[in-house]
């Protein structure tokens, strides 16, 4: 039963994750009074890209070709650990949240390396920005997970998320709210959403994530886009598992609630994107530092 739930969640993540991007775009279109692209547009894009051939510049080497594949593989590994609501992922072990953070780190590392390998100044600039923000975002993510681990006295993601919001531990309500807020900021940063980066922009000077992948084409670009969708799903799953105070004890129900929460997260992200403008680049680290201070406040709360 438990294994079944994990497999179904994994399957849903693999199938539904591009839909999140579609939902975000649709919400933005509705807010702007447009009809918007079809919900399945990200799927069409990925399929179209997969049918094309890839073009490689003569300055780039094997690192460039390795980037998209390794990136997609590492985010898939990360999503296997990701808990579905109060229920664990495909596999879990002590300290797996650190492993998950490192898998995401590996994804970023290979993307950055591939960007540097092109030898283009623009992509180097994007890589430098991406890493600059990631330094703080990763710190926030790990501190937040450490707070949850300390609060629930568990060391694996599955156990942390299943014990959260249950009566077996002292109530973590305020802490969970704080960490959820910090995770929302991490989600927006890591997935290059609006207050940090505008996914629609096509001006290299303002882009962060998009500029790194300018030289990729065809299947490589499809892998990168699919990997980005999976990453969004992963963070949305972490966030909604944390923010929804519901543990029925039945794996299937919990998982369904979590998936619904993930879709709602996509709607919230769309609303944030409609309501906010992009921050100036200099202000992004400031926002992340505020998220960090929120997690530190939560940490002190736990350790008091």
């Amino acid at each position: 039963m438990n294994i079944m739930t994990s497999i179904i969640h994994m399957f849903l993540a693999l199938v539904l994750s591009p839909l999140l991007l579609g939902i975000i775009n649709r919400v933005k279109a509705v807010f702007a009074g447009r009809r918007g692209q079809p919900l399945a547009q990200p799927y069409y894009d990925i399929i179209k890209l997969l049918k094309k051939g890839a073009v490689y510049s003569s300055t780039s080497g094997w690192v460039f070709r390795l980037g998209p594949v390794t990136g997609l593989a590492s985010v898939m590994v990360a999503i296997m650990i990701c808990p579905a609501g109060g229920h664990g992922g495909l596999f879990s072990f002590a300290g797996d949240f650190i492993f998950m953070a490192y898998a995401l780190g590996l994804m970023r590392f290979v993307t950055v390396l591939a960007a540097m390998d092109t030898g283009s100044a623009f992509e180097g600039m994007g890589a430098s920005r991406e890493v600059q923000f990631a330094v703080i975002a990763e710190l926030v993510l790990l501190t937040g997970l450490a707070v949850l681990a300390a609060g629930t006295r568990e060391v694996s993601l599955a156990a942390i998320y299943s014990k959260l919001w249950t009566a077996s531990i002292p109530p973590l309500g305020p802490v969970a709210v704080l960490i959820a807020f910090a995770f929302l900021i991490v989600l927006l940063t890591e997935n290059a959403r609006i207050p940090v980066d505008d996914p629609n922009t096509h001006l290299e000077l303002t882009m962060i994530h998009e500029v790194m992948v300018l030289d990729h084409g065809g299947p490589d670009l499809a892998f990168i886009q699919y990997g980005a969708a999976l990453k969004l799903w992963l963070f949305a799953a972490l966030l909604s598992g944390l923010a929804i105070p519901l543990r029925t004890g039945q794996p299937m129900t919990d998982m369904a609630v979590n998936v619904a929460g993930i879709l709602v997260t996509a709607i919230i992200v769309g609303m944030i994107e409609s309501a906010m403008a992009r921050l100036r680049l200099l202000h992004v680290p400031q926002m992340l530092v505020v998220a960090l201070s929120v997690t530190v406040a939560a940490l002190l709360w736990i350790l008091r």
Binding site: G173, P174, L178, V290, S293, A297, R304
Partner: protein, 214 residues
């Protein structure tokens, strides 16, 4: 009771971080209002459920003075001085938030030995109050704008007030009223001073006041 005390103290602490992070004066003033609301609510959570009339009265007075009258004075001074934001603080905003985190950690460390001897409503209370006081001090020391400094004074006083509420719930009314009156008069006078400064010098940067001028 305990959880609610915790939550209001947490609001106080988060508001402190917002104060350290923002450059807009309007946001600073809004945040002091938020702190006043949290403060007056948290005074009630410290007492047992049938609240004494005195306490309710005190809480309402706090809310009116700190949540309505003082912000109104500050807003008026802001409008008359014609400044919207702090231009160049002595310590940058990210750096002040980082320093704030260190201060919060220190406040917790300081109260570890006292944990057993003080029976305050929550373990978060005394560190939170101390941190609020330190935040106010930070704002006074690290900002140049006179209005932010006045707000910093107000925040510092909020911290002291939370301290008082933590250590002596049964404090006589007269003392609390005296403190409130003090703050009221101080902010009132400072508001007028800020206005005078801005009229005399066309700016309210305090670091330039030390220069002589005819």
């Amino acid at each position: 009771m305990n959880t609610w005390t915790d939550i209001f103290i947490l609001v106080l602490v988060l508001a402190d971080f917002r104060l350290l992070a923002t450059s807009r004066l309007a946001a600073v003033i809004e945040t002091t209002v938020l702190q006043a609301v949290a403060l007056s609510a948290f005074m009630l959570t410290l007492a047992e459920k049938p609240w004494p009339l005195l306490l309710i009265f005190l809480s309402l007075i706090t809310l009116t003075v700190k949540g309505a009258i003082l912000p109104w004075l500050l807003r008026r001074a802001m409008r008359e001085a014609g400044v919207q934001r702090e231009i160049e603080p002595i310590i940058g905003y990210s750096a002040s938030v980082l320093i704030g985190m260190i201060l919060l950690g220190l406040s917790f460390i300081i109260f570890i030995p006292l944990k057993a001897s003080v029976s305050a409503g929550s373990a978060f209370l005394l560190p939170g109050a101390l941190f609020t006081t330190l935040t106010g001090l930070m704002m006074i020391v690290s900002r140049k704008n006179a209005l932010t400094q006045v707000a910093g004074y107000l925040v510092m006083e909020n911290g002291v007030y939370a301290f008082g509420a933590a250590l002596a719930v049964e404090e006589p009314l007269l003392v609390e009223m005296g403190v409130l009156l003090d703050v009221f008069v101080a902010v009132f006078v400072m508001g007028i001073t800020v206005y005078q400064i801005s009229r005399e010098f066309d700016h309210i940067d305090t670091d330039r006041l030390s220069e002589l001028k005819d």
